[in-house]
Symmetry: C2
Amino acid sequence: MNPNKKRILIVGGVAGGATCAARARRLCETCDIVVFERGQHVSFANCGLPYFVGDVIESEAKLLVASPDLFEHRFNIEVHTETEVTRIDRQARTIEVRDLKTGTYREEAYDALVLATGAQPIRPPLPGIDLPGIYVLRNIPDSRKIKAATAQASRALIVGGGFIGLEMAENLVALGLDVTLLELADQVLPPLDAEMAGYAAERLRANGVELRLGESAVSFEQHPERGLILHTSKGATLNTDLVILGIGVRPEATLAREAGLELGELGGIRVDPYMRTNDPAIWAVGDVVEVKNRVTGQWQLVPLAGPANRQGRVAATAIIHDFSCGEKEALPPLAFDGVLGTAVCEVFGLTVACTGASEKLLKRLSMDFEKVYLHPGHHSSYFPGAKPIHIKLLFSKTDNKILGAQAVGEKDVTRPIDVIATALMQGATIFDLENLELCYAPQFGAAKDPVNVAGMLAGNHQRGDFPLANWDELETTPALLVDVRSADEYAGGHVPAAQNLPLESLRDRIHEFPTDRDIWLICGVGQRAYYAYRLLAQNGLRVKVLSGGMKTYSARRRATEASG
Amino acid sequence: MNPNKKRILIVGGVAGGATCAARARRLCETCDIVVFERGQHVSFANCGLPYFVGDVIESEAKLLVASPDLFEHRFNIEVHTETEVTRIDRQARTIEVRDLKTGTYREEAYDALVLATGAQPIRPPLPGIDLPGIYVLRNIPDSRKIKAATAQASRALIVGGGFIGLEMAENLVALGLDVTLLELADQVLPPLDAEMAGYAAERLRANGVELRLGESAVSFEQHPERGLILHTSKGATLNTDLVILGIGVRPEATLAREAGLELGELGGIRVDPYMRTNDPAIWAVGDVVEVKNRVTGQWQLVPLAGPANRQGRVAATAIIHDFSCGEKEALPPLAFDGVLGTAVCEVFGLTVACTGASEKLLKRLSMDFEKVYLHPGHHSSYFPGAKPIHIKLLFSKTDNKILGAQAVGEKDVTRPIDVIATALMQGATIFDLENLELCYAPQFGAAKDPVNVAGMLAGNHQRGDFPLANWDELETTPALLVDVRSADEYAGGHVPAAQNLPLESLRDRIHEFPTDRDIWLICGVGQRAYYAYRLLAQNGLRVKVLSGGMKTYSARRRATEASG
Ligand SMILES: Cc1cc2nc3c(=O)[nH]c(=O)nc-3n(C[C@H](O)[C@H](O)[C@H](O)COP(=O)(O)OP(=O)(O)OC[C@H]3O[C@@H](n4cnc5c(N)ncnc54)[C@H](O)[C@@H]3O)c2cc1C
Ligand SMILES: Cc1cc2nc3c(=O)[nH]c(=O)nc-3n(C[C@H](O)[C@H](O)[C@H](O)COP(=O)(O)OP(=O)(O)OC[C@H]3O[C@@H](n4cnc5c(N)ncnc54)[C@H](O)[C@@H]3O)c2cc1C
Ligand SMILES: CC(C)(COP(=O)(O)OP(=O)(O)OC[C@H]1O[C@@H](n2cnc3c(N)ncnc32)[C@H](O)[C@@H]1OP(=O)(O)O)[C@@H](O)C(=O)NCCC(=O)NCCS
Ligand SMILES: CC(C)(COP(=O)(O)OP(=O)(O)OC[C@H]1O[C@@H](n2cnc3c(N)ncnc32)[C@H](O)[C@@H]1OP(=O)(O)O)[C@@H](O)C(=O)NCCC(=O)NCCS
């Protein structure tokens, strides 16, 4: 080893680690850069694994974004696969490394060490959890095993209704399996609120998935003839050929813990905005670290590829900056300033996306917030093919800042969420959303884009022009419920206690309204109720609107029933 | 007329005017609100007209977003169609109105007057311009005439390669016509730069449109047997059955001019951020006003529906605010803070979108800028079906602010442009783009989203890590041109003067490079050239990168050839 060369050792060679290695080489031609990867592959597309199982991605080769060979020849980076890092000696600045092919140990010295060890799928300590036929999905060998198992199987049971659980459900259905999905919570997709996640639940059921909410796995046993038996918390006994555990991951922080690095309460490594741990020679990136949520200010785990990639880039930059002693004074030019939790998932043609905080999270933290719902088309309604996007926008009542957004629909759902995430990242208010100037042609958006309209609703509320009734109190409110849709629409289904007074007739029938009672207005999506509100309120009545109208009412009801 | 009621008169009942009327009613139940519309329809979807001609939108009824009847019953707004406003008496606060059905004139008094008169298609004073068979497209009667004409026609000639010209080309081809498109400039789509617009030009040609760039119409005459003859600036004689003029619009500001309202140099009405003209009782919105560009600070015409709608809403709010004398001190709660010029157009399956300033505009204004090109997939390449998006990002070298962006591709093109428009609106820098946290799953975006990568390239440049060679000097530079792609790729086509030295071999062949000469690097899209740059620069060589690589080279070459 050339003593003039700085040595960067990286543990873990996929999203965070591989990016960190490549970036470090771009910034420094002379460093030694070595990657240690326990598994057989580096730089693979974890996120593609469900689609590889489902044959949407046809060849394993497609998943290999970069090979050890490419690392060597393009980047002059040493990659050791099937090599596990087993210990860190912080004093000596060395790591202990085990070659898994030979079983031999060796030591490697570092100037900078990067922990990009990712996360491990949770395997709860339930009776029978280690039986054959129970799988997790984290890497290519996992996906091979599941693929092999599906070839023999006709039934699959997925435990956990998060992103990976849902993607697996879709892919296993595509392979012709009967799929049951068990989720302990009373909704799928935990980052979303129940009424928004409900659209996905419905979509799963419509595609033949047996969705069991509020029910968890209690124990597994081998079936005497074929497959497995799962016992659930509701006392049910389910037979299946294979089980996929998709109940989340926990940071792979063993190395860090044993080395005495600071961990957070959630078990992730604590880092500063340059991804440096409390040991100045050790950095950590990806699923293994805790990150600060930009909206709530809380530490959080966000095991997603975008943050892992950006963090790898930040850490590499900080390390090289640290090596160039001349510049010690200045801060590294890149930092990681926390997360919003932007995420997306597609399930049977339905896209579900979110950014920022959910309502339940804001409630849990007792943060001040208000919310609006809307159901615009993904493009102008006069152009054929418009599909609804169901949007929920959360914002602060005190400073008008955006707090979060969720959207569900068949088309163009990431666009509004990405726009709102961008605004949120810039600290924008809902008034800023009203004014955004976005693309519009008949096939794209609208002259008043869905994001503009979301801002308009929130802005109207904040200006006192759109007082909102609380959906949670709909069943118990003493308010008069008035449905302002047409008589036909009303006849087709309505909120039980609601009376019908169509919008167009209100000006003539204003004397029929009580002046001494609260009036709550409902319509299809909230727009006509808002129009009615404006007209009634200016006539001195005490009126509020149920934001999102019957569409949100139905979504909420379905979500409640599903969990009931 | 009730003397206690304020009267708002609105001239023009489509995007800006209709929105203004509806919003004013929501804010004020007691005002008189009257809309005067010269044409037969209010609230129609102008933007859908090309698709109505092309039978994509099948019925005229679809185009009618709201009817006079709906205005009356839902909004209590009086609508007079086929009624032209012919004069404003600012002193008396009255307008002269002509009923086009009866020819009679009357006067109407106002407290607030809104001019939402839109724009008129330009009909250049060329010989023969008024011959039958030469059409413009602005309203429903126009589209009916064109539809009727296409039924008899087999050839069409479009003059003007802007958004409407291109949409018409697509729709007329879909109807089976042979279409020729004449454009005076050496590119289509004037808001874009030539090399980006070139993708659209190619797409037009690939779909059978005869595109004649750098050529204009000089005169028209009747063909002795059938149709028309058009003489062009290049001396060509073209036969056709019908001509569509799509060479732009001019503000319909006659009323305002005759009333002595302040106009700008571009012929639009000058307004303040509340859309008020220099007469405190008169507001103006939509295509008829000039707006300030947020990037350049220049007055500009932006005849688009989004701004018109938002301006209508702002004006209504300001007027009602003005009426409620109690609040005179405070500013109206909504303002229109200028435009970015965000726009989009689809042509034969290719989406072309832009926001902010173009390179040619920045050059014309001698503004400081730099640019990067990239060609990422619209989603991860390992997931089947990724389509390239060609992106150009313009930014300030002095303060790192985003100045503009253009994108072209088949899928998901509005998403990055809307994200960048949002960032631009918030005054974000390119560093902010690097850090955005956007949706990512295999089918959506990428772990390093195209927008992140655009920010990374620009950020690298600004940090001094990615010096850019100037494409314009490629033919003349004394620099050594090195193509770092593989030998196979190089053999498939390359920049004439470029030598081939594949990236993977550079570390071994570094001694072959001259240390006393500039070296410009080129590859497929710019990424490998950047990698090569990092490695060569750190070895003391004088290196620059051609951003966008061969993809941008080809796009530029095609754009030049097309115009040549
Ligand atoms: C099935 C699936 C689907 C996903 N879909 C998405 C998606 O759609 N969108 C999204 O944003 N994210 C998705 N993710 C999450 C994303 O893949 C992760 O957030 C990302 O890969 C984290 O990167 P990382 O570098 O921290 O960890 P990893 O990519 O997991 O890499 C860590 C590596 O470290 C190795 N390692 C651990 N300990 C040691 C050791 N002691 N010695 C040597 N090597 C070690 C591991 O073997 C592992 O390969 C998905 C993940 C999975 C599993
Ligand atoms: C074919 C076509 C396609 C388009 N596509 C798009 C697109 O994809 N995206 C986009 O953003 N924009 C598009 N636009 C532009 C968009 O339609 C306009 O920007 C928008 O309609 C402007 O609104 P406005 O209210 O200012 O004017 P208009 O909508 O034109 O309304 C003005 C009205 O005023 C009336 N009027 C004028 N003078 C008088 C008078 N003296 N008395 C009474 N009435 C009068 C006119 O008859 C007219 O109906 C398109 C336009 C056309 C024509
Ligand atoms: C393959 C891998 C090692 C590449 O890492 P990388 O080189 O940092 O990332 P990319 O290939 O996206 O390239 C980004 C780099 O190229 C540059 N670049 C990208 N496009 C460019 C272009 N057109 N012109 C110039 N430079 C470009 C970027 O600026 C960036 O360099 P920088 O970090 O020095 O600024 C890493 O992405 C990886 O392992 N991916 C698979 C694992 C994974 O992410 N899994 C989870 C998702 S499924
Ligand atoms: C039809 C037309 C008169 C309607 O005008 P409008 O009522 O201002 O506009 P919209 O129908 O988009 O509704 C927007 C209003 O409803 C409110 N709204 C929309 N969705 C809502 C919901 N789900 N819940 C509550 N309120 C809602 C908005 O806040 C806004 O009200 P505000 O301005 O008081 O804040 C006008 O859009 C028009 O003429 N369009 C056709 C012409 C045109 O735009 N052409 C160019 C494009 S092709």
